[in-house]
């Protein structure tokens, strides 16, 4: 039986950033069921929806650009799918887009992914951030303790260093930092883990919020040579949905429009 792979682009906003990956997956499954899409079901002892997700986000990290692949047993026009999904979406998990992708495209979990993050640091004087930026530029590797064991990460393999940017310092004294990391099927660094490791032992900074801003597939296999500054469309990169994609500004706009609980509830408990 032929199946149709639908790639759903959605967001994890506001209080929803505290959901675990498992909670998020369950919530999106329910969204697909509410949308009454003809999703394919695995055969066997306990039937379940056939789907996969882009790289798991840690509890506490929000996202403006997440993906879920779900197999449909029957073709439904994209506009109808999108309409149904948008209507069915839970508050805090708005659906932006849905496109059919070829089965030949790599699965979400096995691709090398370029992930852009925006990190909010509480650093009113700005001193800590400057020092941190310098370390980010110069450090060769960082040591991270994982499951009790120290593990060393070469920054050149995991960080697109040229693309690190200080975006702004807002009126609340929060410094906005743009960080682009590389997620590989074999491992990746989380932004807060990287920053905390770099801050050791003397920098004292408080990470207030981490948001994944965009995900793109990176075929270049080489982080250090990559000097591109545009998120989508540059050589070696393509958008995950294979389409023209939307800019980050559009995503941010989407966030404001799609969900009433966002924005004003960003800090809600």
């Amino acid at each position: 039986m032929s199946e149709f792979r639908l790639r759903i682009n959605f967001q994890k906003l506001g209080a929803c950033r505290y959901l675990s990956h498992l909670d998020l997956a369950r919530a999106m499954e329910r969204c697909v069921r509410r949308a009454a899409l003809p999703y394919a079901v695995s055969q066997g002892f306990s039937a379940h929806m056939k789907h996969s997700f882009s790289a798991a986000l840690p509890v506490g990290t929000g996202s403006l650009d997440e993906y879920m692949d779900v197999e449909l047993a029957r073709y439904v026009p994209r506009t109808a799918v999108l309409l149904a999904l948008r209507e069915a979406a839970a508050p805090g998990l708005p659906v932006l887009d849905a496109v059919y992708v070829d089965h030949k495209q790599p699965a979400l979990a096995v691709s090398h992914i370029q992930a852009s993050y925006e990190v909010l640091l509480y650093d009113p004087a700005g001193v800590q951030t400057t020092a941190l930026m310098q370390r980010l530029e110069r450090a060769v590797d960082v040591e991270v303790v994982k499951k009790g064991k120290p593990k060393s990460y070469k920054l050149d393999e995991y960080v697109y260093r040229n693309r690190t940017r200080l975006l702004k310092t807002d009126s609340a004294g929060l410094t906005h930092l743009a960080l682009v990391l590389r997620l590989t099927p074999n491992g990746s660094l989380r932004p807060e883990v990287l920053l905390k490791a770099l801050a050791l032992p003397d920098l004292d900074m408080e990470i207030r919020e981490v948001t994944r801003v965009s995900l793109t597939i990176d075929d270049s296999n080489d982080v250090s040579n990559n000097t591109s500054t545009s998120v989508a469309g540059s050589k070696g990169h393509r958008n995950i949905d294979g389409s023209g994609g939307r800019s980050n500004a559009a995503r941010r706009k989407g966030r404001d429009n799609c969900c009433r609980s966002n924005d004003s509830k960003k800090d809600s408990i």
Partner: protein, 645 residues
């Protein structure tokens, strides 16, 4: 409260989220929760609270129903709150932050009405914890005009005395109509600018409301006015909630719950729920199927559970399951039953009903090891029923079994204890021989024992609980009576059961005991790793009380009981006769399958048993073993045991 204040409270609380386990417990925003702020025409602010963490209470059916009623009542604005877990409580206290609602992060103290459900006795200290965390006076008498009214309800409210000081009012019985009336009265009086005392007086006039401050506080003295339980007679046509809030995180009932019937007339003599939710009322097959399909479509959940005290007793359970299974046959959606009686069910239906989740374990609750003792408690099953049920379940693919028993039932002897072991061994042997030789290794039998807790409004309300030392001796005997070594034995902490017993039949002296235990650090008493017997022992000593005596207290049949002023509809003479029949092992039949046994409920409360069809066509006269499917996450077994017979 100004918008600014609210925002700073919200951001202060959210600052704590990175420091606690499972922050999503505190963030709300779920599908179908009402995230709007209260509008100008919403006059009455209601906060519904469950006295345990979100993981347990997030899917509580009482809250689901009451929330839905609030949403449907014009002029009412509703939000929810749950007790935070200890890590969050510590941080909130350290930062001087009050307990707030999920929807709009509003302090509980800013609401007009706080409704707290009392799911079981062991929630008593949690109730104090949450009221204190909200910054509200613990005693009703200390609350002023600006404080919320705190109203309780639920099964544990049927003995109001231990809670008299804490609650301003308690609602007795089915909440659907009563809660709507409470809302109506308070809306009207708030609009008219009436005082707190006037509001309480008006609530007192409603049938089913007990106003704690209006009762004389001499313990064990019959107050002049009885409070009569409310019954939702037309349960059959009362709409089931098909758009319940859908929690993001996993909760106790991680599925759509559709209550297919209310009440149980099997008449187990230890079971408070069976006595208190009479008479039996069923929803029609059509209504059930519609509620399931509408609810699943609206929520996107992948499981619907047909809940009740004894779902397989529903007169149309077979057609209901057949229709639903046909509907969801090729999907990833499961239909499950929380409690079944396989004897009533037959092998074909066992196959159908169980087919979806054979990976879990089936739970049987014979409750007592010997036929004699099962007759005493009116658990009308015999060994043949159990063997038959196990064989049927094995054939349908089940491999894991849990057996529930009680220790310390009235008239229990050492022989009865030994027969628990014999019965468990028999179940194991039956299961092993009922499956193909290659699958024998897959058979698992777990034996779970709890100490009997006598409950108010049951035929055993006059009986004391066995003392701790004797309970320990009997548990030792159980351990050393030749239980098959592959059977896993667990028991519920007898000390926790003792506290449950102290509260379940407590009088007004128990309120101060609960308060003292809480002051000494007792909370989350239903969570065995949180429970502190030291706190309770010290509290009892401080007040000159003895826990052993309180739990073991026996009443004469003609004594006035602390809960006598609550009219559950049950005739006290019926309960006394049931008690006497129990002593001679005489069983009493189920009025939904035979003649009325004159428990008193129908006449006293002007209501009737209402079945969707006749139950007589199922061969049931011998009774049978009951089972639970899809065991739930819960702090300790005892919490739901009373309703899982």
């Amino acid at each position: 409260m100004t918008a600014r204040n609210k925002d700073s409270l919200r951001s202060k609380l959210s600052r704590l989220l990175d420091q606690v386990e499972k922050p999503a417990r505190y963030t709300g925003g779920e599908l179908f929760s009402d995230l709007s702020s209260n509008t100008a025409d919403e006059l009455l602010d209601v906060a519904l609270v469950y006295p345990d963490i979100y993981d347990i209470g997030g899917s509580n059916q009482a809250l689901v129903i009451l929330y839905d009623i609030c949403l449907r009542t014009a002029g009412v604005h509703v939000e929810r709150a749950y007790l935070p877990w200890i890590d969050m409580i510590a941080l909130m206290r350290h930062n001087d932050l009050p307990l707030c609602t999920l929807e709009n992060t509003r302090p509980l103290a800013s609401f007009d009405l706080i409704g707290i459900t009392l799911p079981h006795e062991l929630a008593a200290t949690n109730i104090l914890e949450l009221i204190d965390l909200a910054g509200i006076a613990l005693s009703g008498s200390e609350r002023g005009e600006d404080d919320p009214l705190i109203i309780g309800g639920g099964p544990t409210a049927f003995n109001p005395e231990p809670f008299a000081d804490v609650f301003d009012a308690l609602c007795i019985g089915d909440g659907e109509e009563l809660f709507a009336e409470v809302l109506g009265v308070l809306l009207q009086l708030k609009q008219a600018g009436r005082s707190r005392a006037e509001k309480l007086e008006a609530l007192a006039a409603l049938e089913g409301v007990s106003i704690c401050a209006f009762r004389p506080d001499a313990p064990c003295e019959l107050p002049p006015q009885r409070v009569r339980k409310r019954v939702l007679s037309d349960f059959a046509h009362y709409p089931a909630v098909t758009r319940p809030i859908v929690p993001f995180i996993e909760t106790a009932q991680d599925r759509l719950c559709v209550e297919i019937l209310r009440g149980c007339a099997r008449g187990c003599r230890f079971c408070a729920a069976g006595m208190l939710y009479r008479p039996v009322r069923e929803r029609s097959a059509q209504a059930v199927v519609r509620a399931v399909t509408d609810g699943l479509a609206a929520t996107g959940l992948n499981e619907a559970s047909l809940i009740s005290l004894s779902s397989t007793d529903h007169s149309q359970i077979a057609p209901i399951i057949r229709r639903l299974n046909r509907r969801y046959d090729t999907t990833d959606i499961k239909i499950s039953l929380p409690s079944q009686r396989l004897d009533a069910f037959g092998s074909t239906m066992a196959q159908v009903a169980c087919g979806t989740q054979r990976k879990g374990s089936l739970t049987f609750a014979p409750e007592a090891g010997s036929q004699r003792l099962r007759n005493v408690i009116n658990k009308n099953i015999d060994t043949d029923d159990i063997i038959q049920a196990i064989t049927t379940a094995c054939a349908a693919g089940w491999r894991h079994y849990k057996l529930y028993f009680m220790v310390g039932l009235p008239t229990e002897t050492d022989t009865d204890i030994i027969q628990i072991v014999e019965l468990a061994n028999l179940v194991y042997d039956t299961a092993v021989s009922a499956v193909p030789p290659g699958e024998r290794g897959q058979i698992r039998v777990a034996l779970s024992c709890a100490v009997f807790v006598p409950k108010a409004h049951t035929p055993f309300q006059w009986c004391g609980q066995l003392g701790l030392a004797e309970v320990q001796r009997r548990l030792r005997l159980l351990r050393h009576s030749g239980l098959h070594k592959s059977i896993k034995l667990q028991w519920q902490d007898p000390e926790i059961s003792q506290i449950e017993a102290v509260i379940s039949r407590g009088d007004r002296t128990i309120g101060p005991l609960i308060r003292r235990a809480w002051e000494l650090g007792a909370r989350f008493d239903a969570w065995s790793e949180q429970f502190s017997m030291t706190a309770w022992r010290t509290a009892a000593a401080d007040l000159g009380l003895s826990l052993d005596e309180l739990a073991g207290r026996e009443y004469a049949l003609d004594a006035t009981l602390p809960w006598d002023f609550v009219d559950s509809g049950l005739d006290k003479g019926f309960l006394a006769e049931e008690y006497q029949r129990s002593l001679t092992g005489q069983v009493t039949n189920d009025c939904t399958r035979g003649a009325c046994v004159s428990c008193g409920v129908c006449a006293q409360l002007d209501t009737n048993v209402s079945l969707a069809a006749s139950r007589s066509d199922t061969s049931i006269s011998t009774g049978g073993s009951s089972t639970q499917i899809g065991l739930d996450l819960k702090p300790v077994d005892c919490v739901e045991r009373a309703t899982c017979v």
